[in-house]
Amino acid sequence: MPNEFPMNDPQSVWQNQPAEPLKMSATDLRRKALATQSKARYAVLFIIVVAIICCVVFAWSFTGANTALARMGYGLVSLSMIYGAYHAYKWTWPGNLPEEAPIDTCLEFYRRALERQRDYSHPWWRSGLPVLILTLLGVVMAAVGTEARNAPPSWLLALGADKHPLLNALPFFLILAIWVVAFLILRKKQGPKTLQREIEELRAFERENRW
């Protein structure tokens, strides 16, 4: 009986599907709120503690460094750790549901979510990447500064290395640099173009639909 009601009335088919309505108790909701908040806060707290420990370790290395370049390197890493800890607190410390989320129309909400994705407004991109770059730079400076005074260690000489240890590490840094550049280029090529197109469509839709 293919043409008979309700099989061919999509609204009826949809509304009559078996549903399992959920209702959370006030206690469950509060417990979930607290658990979510605690879990997220512990995760952020972990990052902050790690950053502070690293900051102290590198500050201690700073005092024992024998060249200005090494001191600058250790100082840079130490400062980047403070920066990382500050950003972890500022951008990822859990708070309230954004007030505009429910008030926004679905069109606005969707467009903003895509824009955030396009702009890499993810906390990782805002704080993690600068911290990583500063740390790497600091480590390189500290290594160059420290090794500048030293001859290659005996074990390296025994392995046949007649060059400075930093030259041996050059391929690693080169590959790392290529990887970072390729990753950023690929990400830029793949994501934002299609995202941008969709955002433009949604913006045009918003202009068209102001009422």
Binding site: N8, P21, K90, P94, D104, F109
Partner: protein
């Protein structure tokens, strides 16, 4: 070496934090950073939530089905919708009806959930694209059982982009063009046009009965 381990651990923890924040806060980090505490909840918030869960519970379950097809993930999504709904009622000021508020929060949470699954998101299409596609079903072959019809409907919904998905789900829930417009931000005329297209597609897939719900 310990430094590398610590940094590695930090990055891993950071990933967990992002996931947590994304799932629990519908993705607005700037606002999150400024507001420091989760509200403890008020009597009004609780009673509004109870009212919403009583009146829209089944609709919310169906809405979650439209966005997530894996049963376990759907259960999590539904819980997240209810949780965010409860939290949102701390800010409810009556500027729109309770039903519109509930659907907005639910659709926004579900859309946030969908956006995070980028691989799925990239393969979605609009109602217009589906309408222009040749129908793969035999026109004479209509769904014979409720389950078959529901599968077919679900498969159609699965392919749609978030905005079109919101429209079709709202229409299937029996909302009129003006209410769907208030929910989505589209003008009623535009909603009506989209609904017309949806009906054309459904007519092809469900037969003439697809137009019963005019």
């Amino acid at each position: 070496m310990p430094f590398a381990l610590l940094v590695g651990g930090g990055i891993y923890r950071a990933e967990i934090t992002f996931n947590l924040l994304e799932s629990s806060m519908a993705g607005n980090y700037l606002k999150c950073a400024r507001a420091r505490t989760i509200p403890a909840g008020t009597v009004n918030q609780d009673s509004l939530y109870e009212q919403a869960a009583d009146t829209c519970g089944s609709s919310l379950d169906r809405l979650a089905r439209a966005y997530e097809f894996d049963a376990e993930a759907r259960r999590d999504l539904l819980q997240e919708i209810h949780f965010q709904l409860w939290r949102s009622f701390a800010h409810f000021d009556g500027r729109c009806s309770l039903r519109t508020w509930v659907y907005r929060v639910a659709h926004n949470v579900a859309t946030g959930h969908m956006i995070r699954q980028r691989r799925i998101r990239d393969s979605l299409v609009s109602i217009e694209t589906i309408e222009a596609m040749p129908d793969s079903n035999d026109p004479g072959e209509l769904a014979v059982t409720q389950a078959e019809a529901l599968d077919r409907l679900s498969m159609l919904i699965q392919r749609l982009k978030p905005l079109d998905r919101q429209i079709i789900v709202s229409w299937l829930e029996g909302m009129d063009a003006s209410s769907i417009g208030e929910l989505t931000g589209l003008s009623p005329a535009n909603v009506a046009m989209k609904v017309h297209r949806i009906k054309n597609i459904l007519k092809r897939r469900f037969g003439e009965g697809g137009l019963h719900a005019e």
